[in-house]
Structures are given as structure tokens and as C-alpha cells.
């Protein structure tokens, strides 16, 4: 019953984490939930929302609750890759070169307004995000574990920005859309932030516990049926796929890649674990589909012109698969 207990512990820990974050962040339960799942799944997240919605605060609060090292990089057009990864410095005392670690060397790296940096600088993150290493002066440096890049971007202010290339986007496990708070949430935000007393998150878990959670999540069982459904989900994002819905064929230029499928299963497993289950269900897959797939669909100009959102297309795929699944 060791695993069962661990599962219960995991469930409890995750619930506690959410509770701690909720002390600081008003509302945004879904965003918090998805961010935590992403971190338990060991992936990086891209948070998209207009300025002032508490993206930076959310990341900082999560890092506080996890007792992890937090670093922040404000992306600007003149930011250079070395400013992120670090640079080789000449040590005058010893007349040797030594590597000065950049802000990327942290457990949780907040890449604020990542789309304001040039593609060259954005690319500096690629190796770190994928391999967990940084190469400088012909030498590779391993990033601390666990390592998360939580990037933010503003969807409306596009002037002077460099949209993330597809390869870069694909490195993000999920893309979380941050919604504007409700009236009650706004009131609560004001109450919490304008008073004398400020709540802060206490550490609930540390890096090791988080890694243990990550390992446990990977053990969650996924049946062939569920895997088949997940594959179908990803395949149907491709416009040339025979079973793809008509809207996908019309509005999508290219679909999601294999990383999407990995991400889909990984997030589904974490969700199942969060709910105290040892297996992936269809509900987990459908829940994970939007954050996993929305930044991996290349929409056509027609879709952009008509304001067709990626989420709408994903819902369409979900409906067709639901019908197929319901056939007994």
C-alpha cells in the first residue's frame, strides 16, 4: 500500500500547494492548477495575458510555496543571450577565465515578456529548456534540478515584439491563458494588495519532494485505449489527416508534433494523480488538450482574419472523438 499512501500524499501535497498559492493569488484557480500540473510534469509553461493580471506574482508565489530558487529575466529588445545564460569573465587575480552564471541558473526562471527579446536571445533558452544545460566557452553547465522556465507574453501589445518561433513554442509544455478577474476577484485583489498586511505563501514542498511527485506522476497507468485516443487527438490537428474535422482542414496550416502527444499524456497523468487516480481517463485527456495544443496549432490567415481561436478547433476535435468513444 506504499504507492496508495504516496498517491494520497501526492494528492494532499498538491492540494496544499494550491491552497498556499491561493492565499496570494486571487481567483485564477484553473491557471494555478495548470501551472502546478506543468511543474509536476516537469515542463515549462508560457503564460499569456494582458499586463497587470498577476503573472509575475503567480510565478513568484509558486516558487515561494515550493521553496525553490527563483530568478527573473525581463526580456527587452537589447537583451543578449549571454545576459541570460551567463558569460566568461577574466579573473584578474588568478588570470584565468571563469564562467559567470546568468539568471537562467535557478529552479524557477521567470522569462517576463519573452516576446520582446530578439529571436537570437530567445533561442538562448532553447538548450536550457530542452537539455537542462547551458553551453558557454565550449563548456556545458548543468542547470539546477528541478528547472522550470515560466515565460509570460502580452497578446495585445505586438509592436516591437518578436513572436516566438514554432520551435521555441514547442518547448513549452503548456500555454496558459490568463483571464481577466471577475468583479469579486478584483475587489479581493484590492483588499489584499492595498492594505497594510500582505499575505505570502509559505513553503509546502521542496525540490526533492517535487521531483518525487514528478516520478510518481510518471507511474500513473495509461491504457491502450486512452493512448489511442490521445494519438487520435493529436493526429486530428493535422489538416491533411483523413479523420480531421472540417474546421481543422479549413483553418489549420500545420498541426501538433510528437512533443504535443508527450505533453498530453504527461499532463493527463498529473491530473489523474491530483484526483487520486492511478490511471488516465478520457476526462484527463480532454482537460489537458487545450493548454497542451493551443500554441502548437499553426492557424491559417483565414482563421486569424475570422478570429477563429485554437481552442475552438480543439473543442471540435474533442467532440468528434467523444462521439467515436461513446459508440458501444
Amino acid at each position: 500500500m506504499e504507492h496508495t499512501l504516496q498517491m494520497e500524499d501526492a494528492k494532499h501535497m498538491i492540494a496544499e500547494l494550491k491552497q498556499e498559492v491561493a492565499k496570494v493569488i486571487v481567483g485564477q484557480e484553473q491557471v494555478v492548477e495548470q501551472l502546478l500540473w506543468c511543474m509536476i510534469a516537469g515542463g515549462h509553461a508560457l503564460l499569456e495575458g494582458i499586463p497587470g493580471l498577476g503573472k509575475t506574482m503567480l510565478v513568484r508565489t509558486v516558487s515561494d510555496a515550493m521553496e525553490l530558487e527563483f530568478s527573473r529575466i525581463q526580456f527587452t529588445p537589447d537583451l543578449m543571450p549571454a545576459d541570460i545564460t551567463g558569460t566568461m569573465l577574466l579573473d584578474l587575480s588568478s588570470h584565468t577565465q571563469r564562467f559567470s552564471k546568468g539568471p537562467i541558473f535557478g529552479n524557477i526562471v521567470l522569462a517576463d515578456e519573452i516576446n520582446r527579446a530578439t529571436p537570437k536571445t530567445q533561442s538562448a533558452l532553447l538548450e536550457a529548456m530542452q537539455e537542462g544545460t547551458v553551453t558557454a566557452g565550449g563548456e556545458s553547465y548543468t542547470l539546477p534540478r528541478p528547472f522550470f522556465v515560466l515565460a509570460t507574453q502580452n497578446p495585445i501589445e505586438q509592436e516591437g515584439t518578436y513572436p516566438l518561433p514554432e520551435a521555441q513554442l514547442d518547448r513549452f509544455l503548456i500555454k496558459i491563458g490568463i483571464q481577466f478577474p471577475t468583479r469579486d476577484e478584483l475587489k479581493e485583489i484590492v483588499k489584499r494588495t492595498t492594505g497594510v498586511k500582505h499575505e505570502s505563501a509559505r513553503p509546502v514542498i521542496d525540490g526533492k519532494k517535487l521531483e518525487a511527485l514528478q516520478q510518481l506522476a510518471k507511474q500513473v497507468l495509461c491504457s491502450e485505449d486512452m493512448l489511442e485516443l490521445a494519438v487520435s487527438f493529436v493526429m486530428r490537428t493535422h489538416p491533411h489527416e483523413q479523420d480531421a474535422p472540417e474546421q481543422i482542414k479549413q483553418y489549420v496550416r500545420y498541426g501538433a508534433g510528437p512533443r504535443a502527444l508527450q505533453a498530453l499524456i504527461a499532463i493527463s497523468r498529473v491530473r489523474a494523480l491530483t484526483l487520486g487516480r492511478a490511471h488516465v481517463s478520457w476526462g484527463d485527456i480532454t482537460y489537458a488538450a487545450k493548454p497542451v495544443l493551443r500554441h502548437r496549432l499553426g492557424l491559417s490567415y483565414e482563421a486569424l482574419a475570422q478570429g477563429i481561436a485554437a481552442d475552438t478547433l480543439i473543442e471540435q476535435i474533442e467532440r468528434t472523438l467523444e462521439q467515436q468513444r461513446a459508440k458501444v
Binding site: M1, E2, H3, T4, M7, Q219, V220, L221, C222, S223, E224, D225, M226, R277, A278, H279, V280, S281, W282, G283, R325, A326, V328
Partner: protein, 580 residues
Amino acid sequence: MTAIYNHLKFIARRWNRTSLLSAFIKGVVCGALPAAFLLIVARFVPILYSKWIAAAIWLLCIVMFLIIRLRNRMTASSAAKLVDVELGDDAVRTALTLPEEQQLSMMGKHVVEHAAIAAERYRAELKQRIPWQRGWNARLWMSLMGLTIVIIGSLFIMPNEKDAVAKQMKEQESLIAELEEELQHTKDAVEQAELEEQDKEQLLASLDELLEQLDNKERLSLSHAEQLEEALKELKQLEQEKDQAVQRLEQLNDAMEREQSLQQLQQSLEAAKDMAKESQQQAVREALKQLTSEQADALAQLARELETAQAELANELGKAAEQLESDGALTDEDAEQLARQLSDLLSSNLSSSELSEAGNSLAQQLSDLSEALAGVDTNLSDQLARAADEYKANEQEASQGSGTDANNDTTSNGSSDGEGDGADQEPDQGAGQGAGQGAGQGAGQGAGQGAGQGAGQGAGQGAGQGAGQGAGQGAGQGAGQGGGQGAGGTGAGSTPGQHATVTTPRIYEGESEPTVDGGPSAGGQISSGGISPTVTGQQGNYSEVYREYESAAKDALQRSNLPAHMQNKVQQYFDSIQPD
């Protein structure tokens, strides 16, 4: 895992039972459609064993639906899917597909536990989750089933006349087949027999001819099935009418027996009838005294002919009945009834008018029957038709001969709706004397047998409407003003006449228009009846009428594109009737 499988099997059983029920009901409804269609069609077209076929179709549909459902019956695996889909956590399928090594892992055990709980929960809620009407609109289908059962039941129960027709057709076919077989055997026997070559060839030829005729009959019997059915229907109707008449007579008889006063009345009536008979006979005797010797001879001749005709009729009808019986077109019962009816008719002491009426009716029925059976047996048909025609002819002669009716009406009220092909017979308008009291009332129907009614008598104004025979014996004098309405007849008046004046129609009505005469006619039917559009016109001189007639014909010829040889014929006709 065993517990999970047990739950799943239970769930699958429930599902399969429900599905089988729905499949059965759907099969009943869907199978009833073609079955009902067949039974309805069988009421218009004779189909042998239609009820059995309909029942088989119905049953087959039900069985097919059940087989399809059984082939797609739910297994434990699909039951697991059902549970997963409805409960939404996919534990059961995951548990069932786990490899053995994973089943023993902690995660595996957790999944199996979860799956067992889910399956048990589903089983506990089975009646709510799988109600017997799940997946189909039970109310609608049950209503449809009830409706179809009522319809099909009614169609099964209600008697179908076409079944008898179909059965007879089948019997006829089998009879023909048997005959063919026998003929074939005979042919083989003849071929093997030691006969002279010429005789053998003759025999074989006649056998081949018979076989060919049988083959033709087989085809004809199918095409004339409807006619056969019509004939049977008429026979049945006749039987019903006869039954009703007998019933009425019996009722009347009973009533008379019960009522003393009625008995007295009956006796009085009989006495009155005897007196009337005596006075009638007296009148006849007086009339006979007034006859000339030639007229008396003719009357005697007619009486003899009547007797002969009655005998012939009896003979022919007897033959016809035998033929019908032997041909199988009538059942024994029908044949017996028909024979009885005929015998009654012939043996009864009917008056001439009653005999005439009954004979006409019978002749008409026989004629219809013979037409209907024409396709089945030409010989039989001919005999029947001949019998009917002969009877009619005899009856008409009888009508002429019995011109002793006391009725002295000068107006004629008979009608001639036959179609004659003889020349116009109007000589009865000539002068002459005689005891023109002929009052033939026969309603002849045969070709060219227009029934003359009342030739002019005495007063010289004979308004003979009937052309031809009716006036045969009478022939009153008079100026012959009768306008012939009939289209001719075969008998000529016994007194000479002359063309004095003719009546021409004042207007011509009608709707037909001339069309191309494409060649000689080939058969067809003679129709009779209807109302002539001709109304009484004015009288005029024959030559004037002829001129008008000729010019009208010429105009018509110019308008139409009649072939030249036909136009010549018309011209010849006008030449032949040209006034002197």
C-alpha cells in the same frame, strides 16, 4: 479481476436481453411491412400461398433482426467500455488491458480496485442505467407493433377471393402438366409401336399439335386469370340471387299458409287466373279463326320451331354444363346448381313472356360466362355462345309467332339496340290488310335482330319503330309513316312496301370526328345502348333527302383523307341507292 468480469457479464446479459427485445419488436414491425404489402397485393393479383409467404417473410425478418443483434451482442469488453463511458473514469478498460506484471504493481492494484468498485456501482444501478427500453423509443415501437399485428391479423383473417383463383390456376397448370406428360408418354408409346409409317406420322403430328395447344393454353390460362375470376364472381352472384329468391318464395309461402284469409285470396286469385286463361284462350281461338290459311301455317311452323329450339337449348346447356364440369372451371357444386337452375327453367310451365325474360337473363349470363372462359377453352366458349345465340333466336321467333296479344296499342315502345347489317327493312309501311295485332315484345339483343314492336294496325298510321321482324306478321296497312329507328333487321315484312317519304333528322349531334381509316377492321366488340343524338326531324321527298345526303357525303370525303378505293366504295353505294 474475477469480480470485475462477473459484474461485466451480468451487465452484458442485461444489455443483450434488452437489445434482443428491441430487435424482436423492430423485426415484427419491419417484417410486417413487406408481409402486409404482399397480402394487400394478393387481394388484387392472385398469388398462390400468399398467406404462407407473408408469414414466412414476417418470420424471416424477425429472425434476421435477432441474428444481427446476436452477432453484435455485448461482450465483457464492450460492457467495460459501457461502464467507462457512463461513469467517465475509464478504470475498467484500463484494468482489463493491464499486462500481468502491471496488475501486480501498486498502481495496477489501485486501478483494479478502482475498476471493481466502478463495475459494482454500475451493476447496482443497472435497472436505471439499462432500462428495457434503452436505445429505442419503446412507446413508438410498441404502438407500431400493435398496429402491424392488427393489420396483418385482419389481412390473414379476412377471406381473399383471389386465393381460390390462384388455387384454380395452380390446379389448371398441374393438370396441363399432367396432360403434357401423358401426351409425351403416348407419343413415346406411338413411336415405339409397330405401326405403319404413315399412321404413325399422323398420330405423332396430332400429338404434337395437342402438345402445342396445351402449351398455348398454359400461357393463356395465366393471362386470362382475371376473366376466370370474373366468371366465378358472376356465378357466385347468381347463386346468391337464386338463394335470395328461394328464400323470399319460402317466406311468402309460409305467410300464405299461416294466413287463412290469404289462402282464400290465393284461391280467389287462382280462380281469377283460370278465368283469365279461359278468356285468353277464347280470344286466341277467335283470332285464329280470323287468320288466313298462310298465316295459320306460319303460326304452326313457329310453334314447332319453338319446341325444337327448347329441346336444342336443353341439349346444348346440358353439354355446356358437362363441359364446364369436366374442364374444372366450375366446381361440382356450381355445376350442379347451374344444371338445376336450367332444368327448373325448362321444365316449369312458364308463360311465354316469363320464359322470354328468364331465357334472356340466362342467355346473357351464359354469354358473359362464355366470354370469360374464352381464353380457357375456346370450344366450350363457342358452345356456350352458340347456345345463347340459338336461344335468343328461338325466343325471338317465339315472340313473333305469338302475336296474339290483345294489346292494340298503335304506339310502339320497343327498342332496337342491335346492330344489323341488312338493308333497311321498311316495307311494313306498305298497304295491306291484316289482323295486325302483332305485339312482339322481345328484347332482342343479337346482331341485326332489332325487335319490331307493333306494326301498324288497322288505322293506317302504324308507327312502326322497329325495323324488320316485329312486323312480320302484322303489317297493318297505312301510309307507312313509321320512321325507322332501328338499324335494320333480318326479317322482311310479309307485305310489300314502297318508299314514300322518309324522315330525316333535323339536327346531327355527336362528338366524333373523322379519322384515317387505316385498313380493314380486325375484330372488336359490338357495343349497344346509349342515346342517339338524333331527334325527330322533318319529312321530305326521298330524292331530296338523297341529294342532301350525297352532297354531305361528298363534302366529308373531300375533308377526309380516305384511301381512293374506299372513296370508290362510297361512290358505288350512292350510285346503288340513287332514286330512279
